[in-house]
Symmetry: C2
Subunit: 243 residues, 2 copies
């Protein structure tokens, strides 16, 4: 059986759980607590030197990280149901779309980390904070931790992030959905899966007003269809806010 | 025939030219002059709203951007010679490797832009610079232009970039090459192609001392083998320095 190191609220983890659920694949769940920096712990770094979740351990012990890569691997090795287009050009568009959505993650973090991450990080002493930051390899993530711990994002920054998600995600999806029910047309694919964790957060907190049938009618219908899929319940994409 | 919008010195363009050359595919060449910001011109943005090269125009008029995506598309549509591993896990590793190398581009830019980009950008007046920056959508690239035009990267920054390329690229490649001639083993692949433009620059300017048989013997041998491939000459990966 697969072993998945993941977080319930981690966007990339949510994508992989969705993909596994669509394929009907079971996995042994190992939770990594990001607020405890478990992804930067020596034990986890032994499994994944990149210090990121999700991490999928295959049955033969080899492992894969990076949600887009994991999803495409799962689709290549478990064909039913197919989660990529049959057409090479559309597969290329799928890969660029995933990459594009990945590039928007900074805008999501501004909202996401204000919850459980902030609850923990604001309690750290300066010495603790400095010690924790030492283990974070990426400059962008160090900055995000620092901001979360000491200098919460301003209303202007939150609005800018909101705008980028509207233009880069909602408006683009609205245009893509003119061609069919799903982002790449008739077949539900990893392109749709890639957007789900973002849309979930936009719908529940970031810009619910943009998710109405009046503002983005096709995205609104897509989101209803996504939530109606049995895999959505299995993947456990729960609310972010609350305890 | 394909039409390729590209730059001779652009790393991503060099990857796509290498891939086309390995496949023996001809293309109509359209040069985009980055120093003239032609990639942010209204004419080019009509072709690619993302404002990046390379851009491959297919015979039916559709287009693709992003070098990794283009190379994989070319391999899916022109099977001979194959440039991806047959094994799904190795294909996943290939995609993560390309992504990893992509993430190092900022360290290459510090050296690359000090040449022709700086020659042009340092001549701009403050008003011209401000006007040019307005057209650059990415924050990272705006910063790179600003630094190139007004505040050249320091020796410390250059050394830090050099170190990151050594650790993230050369040391990792040395380990990967323990398994075979090429980065993913026996078959030359897009994983190798992805590294070529970086190694070219490391070898000619950034850290030639790290490219010796004494320092990185397997990378040294790999680089000799790469340059001996007929496709390398066809792809025209020329020197960066000089006029």
């Amino acid at each position: 059986m697969y072993v998945l190191y993941h977080g319930w609220r981690s966007s990339a983890s949510r994508r992989v759980r969705l993909c596994l659920a669509e394929k009907g694949l079971a996995f042994e769940s190992r939770i990594i607590d990001l607020t405890k920096m478990e992804h930067h712990s020596p034990a986890f770094l032994k499994l994944n030197p990149n210090g990121v979740i999700p991490l999928l351990i295959l049955e033969d012990g080899r492992s894969l990280y990076e949600s887009g890569t994991i999803c495409e691997y799962l689709d290549e090795t478990h064909r039913d149901p197919p989660l990529r287009p049959d057409d090479a050009f559309q597969r290329a568009e799928m890969r660029n779309w995933i990459r594009h959505v990945d590039g928007l993650i900074g805008n999501l973090i501004i909202f996401n980390w204000a919850h459980s991450m902030a609850k923990v990080a604001t309690q750290w002493s300066d010495a603790e904070l400095a010690e924790k930051l030492k283990n974070v390899p990426s400059k962008e993530r160090r900055e995000a931790w620092l901001r979360t711990a000491r200098k919460p994002y301003t209303d202007e920054e939150r609005q800018e992030a909101r705008d980028k998600l509207r233009i880069g995600l909602l408006d683009r999806m609205e245009a893509m959905l003119a061609e069919g029910t799903w982002l790449l047309g008739a077949r539900y694919s990893i392109a749709d899966i890639a957007a789900v964790p973002f849309i979930k957060r936009i719908d529940e907190e970031i810009s619910p007003d943009e998710m109405t049938a009046a503002r983005h009618p096709r995205v609104h219908a897509w989101w209803q269809a996504i939530q109606a899929r049995p895999a959505f319940a299995v993947a456990n994409i729960g609310p972010f806010t609350g305890s």
